[in-house]
Symmetry: C2
Subunit: 200 residues, 2 copies
Amino acid sequence: MDVREALLEAATKVFAEFGLRGATTRRIAQAAGVNEVTLFRHFKSKDELFQAALETFARRSQTRALPDVPLHPRQELLEWCRTQYRDLYKHRSLIRKAMAEQEEHPAHCALGMEASVRIAEQLSTYITALRQAGLASGDWDVRAATNMLLGAIFADAMGRDTMPERYPYNMRDAIEHYVDLLLNAIGAMAPAKPARGRTA
Amino acid sequence: MDVREALLEAATKVFAEFGLRGATTRRIAQAAGVNEVTLFRHFKSKDELFQAALETFARRSQTRALPDVPLHPRQELLEWCRTQYRDLYKHRSLIRKAMAEQEEHPAHCALGMEASVRIAEQLSTYITALRQAGLASGDWDVRAATNMLLGAIFADAMGRDTMPERYPYNMRDAIEHYVDLLLNAIGAMAPAKPARGRTA
DNA sequence: GTGGCAAGCAAGTAGTTACTTGCACACAGA
DNA sequence: TCTGTGTGCAAGTAACTACTTGCTTGCCAC
């Protein structure tokens, strides 16, 4: 059914732009290019529409896995982090709105939170494997290291467009900076990182 | 004028809870314990009320400075980061709502963005001083290191209450973890950090 | 052609929104 | 005692909200 799909897509788009209260049925119908009445013929209520819309949105998001056995930590982390960053940046408007809404409507955001937790667990597992393989060492907490890298990526993706003066480097370099800093922090820099000039 | 102040406080409180669209004049008046008409006797419009409310909120936020000449990096960073974390966590609801609103009403959030930029510049200056004093070394970008630490603190403050499984350590330990990881990352760990057992 | 189905359109309902008006009351200073 | 001044209260406005109803139109299968 084509109209139904258009409505679902329009709902997430308008939600990302105006938030839940600002995403009126009129605006959604207009964005989908259908009559407002048609919206209510496909979905019993605005709430049901959003339930369905966020579900299909969450289902569509694919996951990129980190290898079970780390071989080239820097390369593997760079690729994985770039994927995460792209996702976060692409959906930054929706994520900001969802974060604001989650206190009032936790059910709507549960899927997003779960995805975020899964991603963090993936990285934690990888970092643990790094340490066990002797590719990282030192006195640090795996969860904290995970949250440090993910936090940097998240904050960058959320703040780059609104505070450009805080991010004088471009997105591609950003990931490299954060990954290298983390690898340094967890004592995993020696073998993997190529020299970049000013190495002290 | 007591009523005016109560209205300003109620406005920020209700905004933090319900967002701009959800912060109706009725709710604000009720939270301030006055009649809705009284609200419009003190402020021409809902918009003017919020302009004033966010301004007084921003004016009230004090800044804690980092020393110009770093002496005890770990201690100084810990204290400063704890202050930043407390502020972010205390106002997390308001910050989440403001982040969601900033695309539609950038003027309302400009003060918050400026504060965030100032804080980042403070930390950048301090880290630069660290390097110049020979207390940190390596091939890394000062801005990236700044954003890494601030990003970790920000993401923690925003996500801890809604994703507790991602943060198995408490808030106090969190700052210590992040600061130590950053100090490791920028090659500033040698003299300052006391042993914590498992040091490799 | 005829039936059925999906959609559009105009109109309406009931509730909420920001904001206004008019009047009554209570208190404080002259 | 009079007179502002600040407030509460009841009511009303116009616009918007989610959602409904009734009727019409186009299209596709038979």
